[in-house]
């Protein structure tokens, strides 16, 4: 079972939910994997403190032009939609950082002068965190191929485990890459006007992808009732509400797990997992 934890707005508590859900299930003897897909700013390791035993360089394919074969016909540059390969006065120049690895230039070159080489975009690390199989990606500074790195991390998903994917914030390509193909999405929000606005955007995205989802309202006793009203109006399940707590905030600031400072949440997270299982088995009407 693959569960993605996402949110439109950043800082609503995605990583808190994802890591505590993973640990709560692992402590109940479940096979659990946590994959941090927020590869621009991965934070799950701060809380899970994994022992890393495998580090991989993640690369993407970029073109390499054999100038001895190139006739300067310019068809590669005409096809490339990203200005990553251009032909100026019969000379071909490549701009690797703009390349989307579509393979078009290699396929279109009549002289077979273009081959593939690897360009590093970041690393992925895998290991164990007290019974939770751990994995995360770290995008290199200045790299823009966030979705490619997420795809690489997701390839390490274990088949028969409960796989918890910690998604990046927002509603565009990196999030879509992270939630694609999962069985269920949890959208974490906070009850503020910003939280509501970004939740509506995230719901639009998840519905466009046709995935079942529930909402978790973090710091539920601050702000206003706009999020609850919205969920009621839209028939959206609110799977969990977590009150604002100084204790949780302090634990978070020090990299400690919520279930370690307030053990009563362990049961709640296990209940959350059961609730998701029931929803996958018997979808709500709109699904």
């Amino acid at each position: 079972m693959k569960i993605a934890i996402a949110s439109g707005k950043g800082g609503t508590g995605k990583t808190t939910i994802a890591t505590n859900l993973a640990v709560s299930l692992a402590r109940a003897g479940r096979t659990v994997q946590y994959l941090d897909c927020d590869v621009e700013e991965p934070n799950g390791h701060i809380f899970l403190k994994p022992h890393i035993d495998c580090v991989e360089e993640v690369t993407v394919d970029v073109p390499e032009v054999d100038e001895s074969k190139c006739t300067g016909c310019g068809r590669c540059g005409q096809l490339c939609q990203y200005s990553a390969i251009v032909c100026i006065q019969k000379h071909v120049l490549t701009f690797e950082q703009l390349c989307h690895s579509c393979g078009g230039c290699m396929a279109v070159c009549p002289e077979l002068a273009i081959t593939t080489k690897q360009r590093r975009i970041g690393i992925a690390e895998y290991g164990d965190a007290a019974g939770v199989a751990f994995g995360h990606g770290k995008l290199d500074i200045g790299a823009i191929q966030t979705p490619s790195l997420i795809r690489s991390v997701k390839h390490h998903a274990i088949d028969d485990a409960v796989v918890i994917l910690d998604a990046p914030p927002g509603t565009s390509c990196p999030v879509i890459e992270a939630v694609k193909g999962v069985d269920f999405v949890l959208l974490v929000t906070e009850p503020t006007p910003f939280g509501l606005n970004d939740l509506e955007l995230a719901v639009g995205m998840i519905r466009a992808l046709g995935l079942p989802f529930s909402v978790i309202i973090n710091r539920c006793d601050m702000g206003d009732d706009g999020v609850v009203q919205y969920c009621r109006r839209e028939g959206i399940d609110i799977a969990m509400e977590i009150p604002n707590s100084r204790k949780i905030a302090e634990a978070y600031s020090r990299g400690r797990m919520m279930v370690d400072v307030m053990s009563e949440y362990t049961g709640q997270f296990r209940g959350l997992h059961q609730r998701i299982g029931r929803r996958i088995a018997a979808p709500m009407r709109e699904e």
Partner: protein
């Protein structure tokens, strides 16, 4: 004219609330919301939209099912797994190939290689952008379509429009609300800017993400200042972060205490300095003085 971009690395540190508060203090600045993935600045600024335009971040492929011969070459060549045998039937085939518009990255490879030229390539509308009036000055902002991409291009467009407006109005500042992370939209937000203000929070995650975003600004050679929001929730961490920033040559220009006035102001659709005249406003005014000093 100067351009100041507010970014955060980590989400939820108060970037947009601080940007809005600075907008209230910076009389006559042109505002730009470049957090196009989850734009929130308009919520506290209640913009009066004067001009709406479509945004196209590129083109997209679409297969004409009546022409498709079902050879599958397009699906084989697509590196984005965007083409599947799930299109409608035609006179010959029970199913045709179809391009998933969410997965399509507009590379044109399928269009180029389709043996029967059944694939069209059209301008995709990925969102809308707006020029608005607000009580705090003109604002350029956008709404990316649902499940759309190309936010980097949209960010670049918004910044360009904001600068044009600033030139027209002889305004001396463009104030940009950036996006979280260190990827494509953030790079598009800060490239060529005069100054970056990083808003962080004193948590291990905030500290970790600050290090990455500070590496990014250094990598692009852009001067950065730091504001530590909610500074009192962990004073020790605040001190550590300040020390690390100093070592990197980043000036800490403000420590803002945790205050639920930020949330209350948001609910009242106001900036925090408009909502309250208390200590928090004094702190933000002090922050603003430091920022203007650095901009001069």
């Amino acid at each position: 004219m100067k351009e100041l971009v507010v970014i955060s690395g980590k989400g939820g540190t108060g970037k947009t609330s601080i940007t809005a508060a600075l907008a209230a203090l910076a009389h006559g600045a042109v505002l730009a919301d470049c957090d196009v993935d989850a734009a929130d600045l308009h919520i506290v600024l209640s913009p009066n939209v004067r001009q709406t335009s479509d945004f196209s971040g590129g083109r997209q492929a679409a297969i004409d099912p009546t022409q498709c011969i079902g050879c599958g070459l397009c699906a084989d060549m697509c590196r984005f797994d965007a083409i599947h045998l799930e299109g409608p039937a035609n006179e010959v085939l029970g199913k045709t190939y179809r391009v998933d518009p969410v997965a399509c990255e507009g590379c044109k490879v399928c269009v180029e290689f389709c043996p029967v030229k059944a694939i069209g390539f059209h301008e995709a509308v990925n969102g809308q952008w707006f020029v608005s009036d607000t009580r705090l000055g003109p604002m350029v902002h956008a709404k990316l379509g649902i499940a759309e991409e190309n936010s980097g291009k949209l960010v670049t467009l918004i910044r360009r429009k904001a600068k044009e407006i600033a030139e027209e109005r002889k305004s001396d500042l463009v104030l940009v609300d950036g996006s979280p992370g260190i990827g494509c939209p953030v790079i598009a937000s800060i490239t060529g800017a005069d100054l970056v203000l990083i808003v962080t929070e004193p948590t291990l995650s905030g500290r970790h993400d600050l290090a990455r975003v500070a590496d990014l600004t250094a990598n692009f050679g852009i001067r950065a200042l730091l504001c530590i929001n909610k500074a009192d929730i962990n004073p020790q961490m605040t001190a550590q972060i300040s020390e690390e920033a100093r070592r990197r040559g980043i000036t800490v220009v403000g420590e803002i205490p945790y205050d639920d006035a930020f949330t209350k102001a948001q609910i009242m659709k106001a900036t925090v300095v408009e909502y309250t005249g208390g200590e928090i406003t004094e702190r933000i005014k002090a922050l603003w003085r430091q920022v203007t000093y650095a901009l001069a």
